[in-house]
Symmetry: C2
Subunit: 344 residues, 2 copies
């Protein structure tokens, strides 16, 4: 048994350093205007006495910061360019604010910065983390596990396949939604249905491809072309499709931004939509899906609600009350609906 | 003099709580899977012993987190809707990443949440703060002062007028840029030059109005109408202008988004730009300024560079080296340039 030592006071720090209480306070509170040798003496005294400033000490002991980190595993340029993230953040922000929790968005320039994000998460600055847009070979999940803070993922994490473990996530029924889209195209009489994929190191994109294949099991492999969830990727993929399969009569695009790019290229090539080529997207991202020419038939997922639900699950914790719903210990999968507009 | 007490160890916490070291570790590191009564006993032991986990303790003592908070004093919806903020954040992100500092963006639903932001800033989670889009009656500056962390402001803070104090900020020459714009309109022979303002509780908007008045000292007060830096605000203001002064022959809009809204209303009313009404914006926000119809003559400020400079000033600190430039203890004001396109 160790004896209970009283927590050292600021006065003790000042006395040990041989400075006034005001000077010690300035150093401890990160203020400027104290000469370097004095700063050093105060820091040494802090270190030797194990002094901990009050407010920070309290949050270390209670382990509550009333703050939640949000990590989008994409470069900040994409976070601001793709309205998907703004929508998900909107849901998260509303829910956290309703519980007086601070939203702490950790931005990066890319994957090389994820080790630093991991250090911040481990550093005792937040009560938990919401993480989305994970890619398969991302070091973040491991870093988060080591940080040891409660986490909810947006989208089914790829590595949890099979182990059915205790990873909590919120996802949409990507595979079922994709099946609905492709079945709709087939029901319209289309026989050469193509798919422009998302980045296949993300489960959302892989699941949509699986949904396409559920319906089009025997399709020509050249009808499946890679995209990256961006309009530019949709343009590139559509050009490739028209090169290799000029007889294509329908396209299921992995998201609405991809579909918007594909529509532009079809117009350039004088293909009428939906008469010559029917097009379906995924997301029902507004205003994008309504403002394309023609307006986009798409698979609707409630992105803002996904964000809200992620925050709610994190705040309640695995053992908290979940009125009116099951307490999920792993995934919550939200349904999707096909929204019919002019493009298919 | 207080005796130097050794910092209590995790073993001591476990012993005092009567649990294993592994259980104590799980509780201290925020992990789940420990029964509530044990959690309570460990927490009490932590409290009584003044135990501080290692990583957090280290950062409290060294006072370095290698993390910088960014606070945009606007609701998150506006942060994501206005490309100005994305550009400024891009500059900040590049500079912080180059110095391996984590960008911690604190989002809010609005001003009611600023007290919570102040608590986070005071809580020992970041080494400093970058704050922009301040409004005059915002409680943030006071909260930040109390938090006692180094801060650089984007835009001249309104309250520092006159006291010439030690507030560090980065701004553009809003007044000079506005003068250039209005002088250009006058040089084109326009005599009924209107101004759609920004929100006048922000110094950037107030300074641009002052620049307009420097040139148009005797203008009809009805030629000055309020906007809010959004396209919708620009539309409302332009309608008001056409109602009250249908003979208006030029408009200086407080920013490009405002100008884009004004251009839409002018087109609706069959006014030709620039023949009937010449229009100038502010920002040179791309692609907005190039994609308006007609492309926008505007006052260019380097928004990304402003963000980069804010981060650089914060990381260097007031006494750090500033090769090739003055060490500013207050404001750095960047020049603007008039970019001529078709609208004026």
């Amino acid at each position: 048994m160790t004896e209970t030592a009283p927590r050292p006071t600021l006065e003790a720090v000042a006395a040990r350093a041989g400075v006034s209480r005001a000077t010690a306070s300035r150093v401890v509170n990160g203020g400027d205007g104290v000469r370097e040798p004095l700063v050093e003496r105060v820091r040494r005294a802090v270190d030797e006495l194990g002094y901990v400033p009050n407010q920070a000490a309290r949050s270390l002991v209670t382990k509550r910061h009333d703050a939640v980190a949000v990590v989008v595993a994409e470069p900040e340029t994409r976070v601001f360019a793709d309205p998907f993230f703004a929508l998900q953040l909107r849901g998260i922000s509303k829910e956290l604010t309703a519980h007086d929790n601070q939203l702490v968005l950790l931005l990066t320039e890319g994957r090389d910065d994820h080790a630093r994000v991991g250090r911040y998460l481990a550093g005792g600055h937040v009560d938990g983390a919401l993480v989305f847009s994970l890619h398969l070979d991302d070091p973040l999940p491991g870093l988060i596990r080591r940080a040891g803070i409660p986490t909810v993922f947006g989208g089914r994490p790829g590595w949890s396949d099979g182990d059915g473990g205790d990873v909590v996530y919120v996802d949409s029924d990507n595979r079922g939604g994709a099946r609905d889209a492709v079945r709709h195209l087939v029901a319209l009489g289309r026989t050469r249905v193509a798919h422009i994929t998302g980045p296949l190191d993300q489960t959302s994109a892989a699941d949509r491809l699986d949904g396409y294949r559920d319906v089009m099991a025997d399709a020509d492999p050249r009808l499946v072309v890679p995209g990256d969830f961006t309009p530019a990727g949709g343009e590139r993929a559509m050009r490739e499709l028209l090169d290799h399969r000029p007889d294509v009569d329908a396209v299921f695009a992995a998201n609405d931004l991809t579909a918007a790019g594909a529509l532009r290229v079809l117009r350039e090539h004088g293909r009428r939509v939906p008469e010559d080529v029917a097009v379906i997207g995924f997301d029902d991202m507004l205003p994008v899906a309504e403002q394309t020419d023609p307006p986009l038939t798409t698979v609707r997922q409630d992105i803002e609600e996904m964000g809200r639900l992620m925050a709610r699950l994190l705040l309640r914790g695995p053992d908290g009350p979940h009125p009116g719903e099951q307490a999920p210990r792993s995934g919550v999968v939200l349904p999707t609906t096909l929204v019919r507009r002019a493009s298919a």
